[in-house]
């Protein structure tokens, strides 16, 4: 009897699942809250502070989307996810978007049926090794023990790199970044490999940062960006263009300080279209006209977000590098707002 009840309940659940997924935007508006999947903790990108307020580079993307859609940057429910649980949570509809330093790859986009809406950080995989090991290039690492986080693309890149250079290595699988650093400091592995941004952030916390070298090879492309489920293109557009708005705002010189003033109208038509005084772009997305202005007022433009959480004046101290505007030799290039 109990078994048939369970099966019945599952059937009902399945039917309800089909009926409920009408539109993510409507769901979010009805709920009054954006469910945003984030990292359980990554220095500079996502971590709650002592008062349990989430902060970081990835967090600000969630806040910007919430401000654009709901007008309230704090109307976000952060769902912390590990590398293993992030995709199932998104596929099962537990979260509306995933902003968790996730690499845009073919199979994730196509096979796992997600939609990457853009890139908010261009990263690449590097190596860190103790200076006393005496290596100057990753190609000298024949026979080295390598600490590597499981369930990530870095694991696959590492295998590819060593195979294509026909040198051998011994992997030491570990679960989290913190664990890897401890293993590295304790000498359990010769080198540690992960995204170069993570390496720089971690080296900054070491007692003697000068004793560690980040090897010059960057062995992979790691475009990190927010993603949504396949199948709801309207919602994907909202997240994509919120991210684009942050990037375009930097190019156009719109900051959190002057956005209120510029929202009254300017001589630059593109700024006007971005901030909603012309063009009716917000309406096309199904949002208010001042959607982008709301987001910018909260988080500031891309450059401000970068400087606040991971820029050169923070303990993490990352340079803009590839993440500079295209006008300054980087890769950030927002499509035109028209």
């Amino acid at each position: 009897m109990k078994k048939s009840m369970l099966l019945g309940a599952l059937t009902v659940a399945g039917l309800a699942a089909g009926a409920a997924s009408a539109s993510t935007l409507e769901d979010v508006k009805a709920r009054g809250e954006l469910n945003c999947g984030v990292n359980t903790g990554l220095v500079g990108f996502a971590a709650p502070d002592a008062n349990n307020n989430w902060q970081g580079f990835d967090i600000d993307i969630c806040r910007a989307v919430a401000a654009a859609v709901l007008g309230d940057p704090d109307a976000v429910k952060y769902v912390p996810l590990t590398g293993k649980t992030r995709f199932t949570a998104l596929a099962a509809g537990e979260i509306d978007m995933l902003s968790r330093n996730t690499t845009w790859t073919f199979s994730r986009d196509v096979d796992l049926k997600f939609e990457f809406v853009g890139v908010n950080y261009y990263d690449g995989q590097g190596f860190i090794a103790p200076r006393e090991l005496g290596v100057t290039s990753a190609k000298d690492l024949d026979g080295a023990t390598v600490c590597i986080q499981t369930g990530t693309t870095t694991e696959l890149n590492l295998a590819d790199f060593f195979r294509s250079n026909s040198i051998s290595y011994e992997p030491v699988p570990i679960e989290t970044n913190a664990e890897a650093l401890q293993q590295l400091l304790a000498g359990a592995c010769d080198v540690y490999t992960t995204d170069a941004s993570g390496l720089a952030a971690s080296r900054a916390t070491f007692e003697n940062p000068g004793d560690w070298v980040i090897l010059p090879e960057i062995i992979s492309k790691e475009p990190l960006g927010p993603l949504v489920r396949h199948g709801d293109n309207d919602w994907g557009d909202i997240v994509r263009w919120t991210l684009n708005a942050l990037v375009a705002a930097e190019e156009l010189g719109v900051t959190s300080a002057n956005v209120a003033e510029l929202s009254n109208g300017t001589d630059n038509p593109e700024v006007n279209r971005l901030l909603g005084t012309e063009g009716g772009l917000g309406e096309m997305l199904g949002l208010d006209a001042d959607w982008a202005a709301n987001a910018l007022a909260v988080t500031g433009n891309y450059g401000e977000i970068f400087e606040r959480h991971i820029g050169e004046n923070t303990p993490i101290g990352l340079a803009r590098g590839l993440n500079a505007q295209w006008t300054e030799g980087g890769l950030l290039y927002a499509p035109p707002f028209r």
Partner: protein, 430 residues
Amino acid sequence: MSDKPAHNVAFVRETTLPPSPPPVAETGAIKWMRENLFSSAFNSIMTILGVLAVYQILSLALPWLLNGVWNASSIRDCREILDGATGGCFAVLTERWHQLVFGRYPQDSYWRPTLAFLLMFAAFAPVLFSNLPKKMLIFTGLYPFIAYYLVWGGSVLVPILSLVGFAVGYVVYTRLVDRSFATGFFGGVAAAIAVWYIGGFIINEDSTFLALEQVESRDIGGFMLNLILGVVCLSVSLPLGIVLALGRQSRMPIIKWICVVFIEFIRGVPLITLLFVANVVLAYFLPPGTNFDLILRVMIMITMFAAAYIAEVIRGGLAALPRGQYEAGDSLGLDYSQSMRLIILPQALKISIPGIVNVAVGLFKDTTLVSVISMFDLVGMVRGPILASTDWNGVYWELFGFAALLFFVFCYGISQYSQWLERQLQTDHR
């Protein structure tokens, strides 16, 4: 001697000699050391090595403990204050202790779980110590509802409704149980469900009657989460384990096979797999938007896991009883439930105590596994948010040492209680 003439005797001592002190090597500390530490060459070497080892550990640990920094805003601050000297950066505990203990629970409501924690002792006391008045058991029965209300908040009507459901079910059970156990049991369950179903219509979900601020399960974390999981899962899995153990010995084939399959299946699967099922796989079957509470899912999985193990421990206890005990029950004309309740289980459970405690301590520590499915229990809080903050990235020993200390206190307490209980229940003449 007395017949010899006195003048022949050159000297006679008339008083007894004062006892001379024993040789230095045979008294006090030196004797103790000779006997216990240096009784042979091998023991002497081991003693010296032992002393050296203790000295090594203390010379590392003591400066680190005593020279620790308790007031700093980040690990860089700590290093500046220490200026190269050895010392722990305990400032992370000063700043983040509330997250380690309460997770992301609202800060102005810490009194609620604290009160629930203190009341827990009052609730458990009559169960754990048999010499307390039996009336205290009433509070034990009420405690789960009080604790739920305190920790999760919301309207007071919800726990009251579930309490009324249980009460009505119990009353129906006692009325019907005379006819047969099955009638009583299913009648009671049906009555309880009826009460909850009808009550669900009467109580508005958003009722604010005597409402405490509602706290989401997601925000419950830290050591509090480990305690909640440990206490709830153990309390539920113990009776469930007894039922499973008895069921496995049952002569009714269906019941026996259900119990065997359940136990063998759950024992054959790692706990972490069950947790992944609870967290990830179930989400595919539930419609989006349904909120089958994650903590509840995890509780069910851990309870099933613990129940399977406890069932096997108790089965060992049952098997250890001589057959004569079962026959004694039969010969007294007791029915199955009476002979189990009065003769078999009291003895079997007593034998099983060490095993049950073993499972209990192991289970309590296993609750830290939930950090892998991104719940912020004590270990999850350390590994995730705190080590990932720009301020405290790199502080390991202090945080994990604190976690180990908390767990040690509780596990040691459990084990001491169980030893006391064994002495209390000792009836044989060993």
